[in-house]
Symmetry: D2
Subunit: 302 residues, 4 copies
């Protein structure tokens, strides 16, 4: 597996230079482009990695999965009164659909949906940012995982569009806490810094019927785990979920920091990272690497 | 398996009466509501069934999968120059997205996409309706499969919205044949009458890496098969694909005739039928039956 | 007035070369760009003109006013059950709003609304194209006014988007006649050839409380005349009605043939023509000429 | 005129009970419904009135005209770099068009446009709320005009949708000041309390080529006055501007407090008030009263 991962990174490395590092938030644009890493976490706890697999990066939207899992843990099915689990067919930050569908986001992985999930968690936790950080430390088994306050602050300063979404949902009665406070929590989650190894480990319970081997905890039930995976499969890669299913065939979640996590149920979790993004906002080299991996080892669920 | 299928039908039968038979086309509205059938086709060729599994019904949008497979067979990847494979996040017959995205349908399972696929096939086959009928006869191993001309004619008379889509795509240069002729082919495909057993058998190659056991033909490559399944998984159930993935966890395709076909890769194909639909246009009892089946035997791909 | 009109044409003539002759229909693109004419028709029947005021051109959307007046003549207020008289805030040929508002066009001067008006007239007249031609001959006092069959045929061949609109309205139950037949009538109206003098004269009743001086006929009541003028004022210049009101301050109607007609209630009607269009599809030099005229003689109704 | 106004109020009074007092802001819903007043201000300074013409009410969106005039006074044509003067064809508080048109509002009388105007004024005035109050006092000649702080606070508490718009424009770079501060100014303007007499007088300069007789000040140039009137004519009555032009035929501006102001250029300004609104958010009895007035005295500009 080590050899395969190295070989795949070598094959996709030429793509570096053809994408574009996210720069809509200044602090993200400072990341050097020429980085590439991958880590695979098998169900028996063995880790395989290659490239910059130990380098922490900004998880950004990958954190939306952690928020969703937290919300399911404490509130279960009731969260679906506030949002759906359908693909959106729209850019991740559009307000158009949100207005037509009267403030009810289509799924928890577009920004509006993630904000509703944060609003739900805000009502539950005294210190949502700390609860999240500690939850992710447990999942990843890495007590060093931390929030990049510089990134969080930069995102907050550029919060306008997310604020617009939150206020629009409030106008429809689907936002219960103070908008500014929830945005602070939301950006804190996005600004978590984790490596490919951290993320592969943290997602391993989703490949393992909800059970987290290294911590010995049942995070979700088997059924809930399938449900979270199904939402990643239909809505996990912004407006490119269909293409990810077509090319890779796995439940996955991406972030504009350049990370993509994917899950092969019953086998392993994997995280790839390269900061340059394609037009849809997903890691260019990362998509290619996962496609190769999926094909070489027959990992597609389809 | 026989016992399980019967048991499942008994459990979901009380749902009959809570849905609504499609009646936007008069000929469809004539179907008696209280029918329910299921058929499973294993990779070894064994068929299990219960209820009205031998009764032919109007396949409607399930035919969109056959059209897509035909197009992939003769034109391969080039078809994606004309349409996408992303979920639409819109009702199946909306023109809004089609106008914003300049006549390029999001996927082959919304009406606009299926019309483009028919347009592609129209350019290829001298007699598209006959080619399709014969293709489906081979796939299902049933030489009696036929088009219900009464239904096809009724659909043609109520073609207005589909005609609007086709003309809109023509206005954007993405429709090459005579609109009326393609609509005739399209409705002919929709009006095919097949039973649950026919459809389970016809879809079996999608559970078997593209190989059709009973005819001995490789219909698609293994990779193409995964790709078709991925599109069914993200876009196969109108604006309820996410919910189907969440509840059932399988690639599938539904029709307003009340049929739903699903595929368990490497294991079996299944078709369920009950004419009453839910608000999203999918068989109410059919969804429930597939959810039970998937859970009872652990069939979810997630 | 003659001197003023010549002076205005001289001032705006330098704009020729900065616009673009409509070419989405090939037959329209053949018109030489460097033409410019203006005609004013006073209520006493005196005509003032300058430039190419006698040259016939394709009236295109200006015919939508004639269709509306015909429909009001025979059906009165009942036509507003089928469409509105609100500005659309959208490009003239968009289907988006039409779908959201369930097949009811916003006003009679966007294409969808004009098609509904033609559908209404189609139900009333045995030969709609001839009725229209004769109506316009009476209004203009020019028995030579005729349809350019070459243009009408070219428009029909490029009918796709208008066909899409008509079929979409049919899908919503707001289109009663055969789509192809109504489109034939519609393009026949658009392809009428009239000069600035013809059009100024034909619109004079709208400046004169509905009374057509040269034919001695009361075409509309005073109240109906104000209503038609109000619709021109809020919706007469595609998606630039607000700008026309802001710059010119008169009820008016434009066509992609490069003509613009305007009405100064109680004083005169005016038609200007120059084939090159601005980005909104209105005659570039024509807008400028009407703005100068309106300011020089204090014609704004505001 | 006194007799005519009384007669008109008697004719429309039966409509009271058929509309609905605005209640989306609690403080507005407290206004007794059965009130009706009208005031006409002639260019010679004579005032005619009937009914509750001296009762102050919440001007709400009528204040958008004052804000626009302030912005034109200090910034002239440059304001049109930030917004348009086209009708929107959308509900007054929609974000859909704003997203498609990248944060540039269609006109100054939809909420988004009024917020941009307030943002422009916020950059200019040290105390925008006071500047506005004093401006309106001068225009109306009533030094008692004041802001209803209870209403302003209630509106601020229910600011979610307006906040969403402002943040969306900020995301597109079209909002320069602190959102909360501009919203405070905006609601302060909306919460001004004025009577029909106050408003008729305050709008009189728009009927008088920009000259305010009672204060002796030229507020706008003749050309600017026509331009403001043109925008009222095409966009002044929410999504019913076309209907107001059709029925009344005058530039006008309405507010959800139940007031409607209209201008007869060269003759008079008029304000009518009745709190119950129709479905489009305009005073039900007010529309009817202005229609009668316009017809009885031939006031339509068309």
């Amino acid at each position: 597996m080590h050899a395969l991962l190295s070989e795949i990174l070598d094959e996709v490395r030429p793509l570096i230079g053809q994408g574009k590092v996210a720069d809509y938030i200044p602090a993200l644009g400072e990341v050097p482009a020429a980085q590439l890493g991958i880590a695979v976490y098998g169900l028996d706890g063995e880790v395989f990695s290659a490239g910059d697999a130990q380098t922490p990066f900004s998880v950004q939207s990958i954190s939306k999965v952690f928020s969703l899992v937290q919300a399911i843990e404490h509130s279960g099915e009731s969260i679906w009164q506030r949002l759906g689990h359908e693909p959106s067919g729209q850019p991740f930050n559009s307000l158009v659909q949100l207005e037509f569908e009267r403030g009810r986001p289509r799924n928890p992985f577009i920004n509006a949906g993630a904000l509703v999930i944060c609003d739900i968690n805000q009502s539950r936790f005294a210190a949502p940012a700390l609860s999240m950080r500690d939850f992710v430390r447990r999942l990843s088994g890495n007590r060093e995982v931390a929030v990049d306050l510089h990134v969080a602050e930069s995102e907050y300063r550029h919060r306008a569009r997310n604020a617009a979404m939150a206020y629009l949902m409030q106008a429809f009665g689907n936002f219960h806490n103070d908008v500014e406070a929830v945005l602070r929590s939301y950006f804190s989650h996005c600004a978590l810094r984790m490596s490919c190894v951290d993320l592969a480990r943290a997602f391993s319970f989703l490949a393992n019927d909800g059970f987290c081997t290294h911590s010995g905890a049942q995070i979700l039930s088997e059924r809930q785990t399938q449900q979270v995976n199904s939402i990643m499969a239909t809505s996990g890669l912004y407006d490119e979920a269909g293409n990810f299913a077509y090319r890779v065939g796995l439940p996955g979640k991406s972030g504009v920091g350049g990370g993509i996590v994917a899950v092969v149920p019953g086998r392993f979790s994997v995280c790839v990272w390269s900061p340059e993004l394609n037009a849809a906002g997903n890691s260019l080299a990362g998509m290619a690497a996962l496609e190769l991996l999926s094909q070489r080892i027959g990992a597609s669920v389809f």
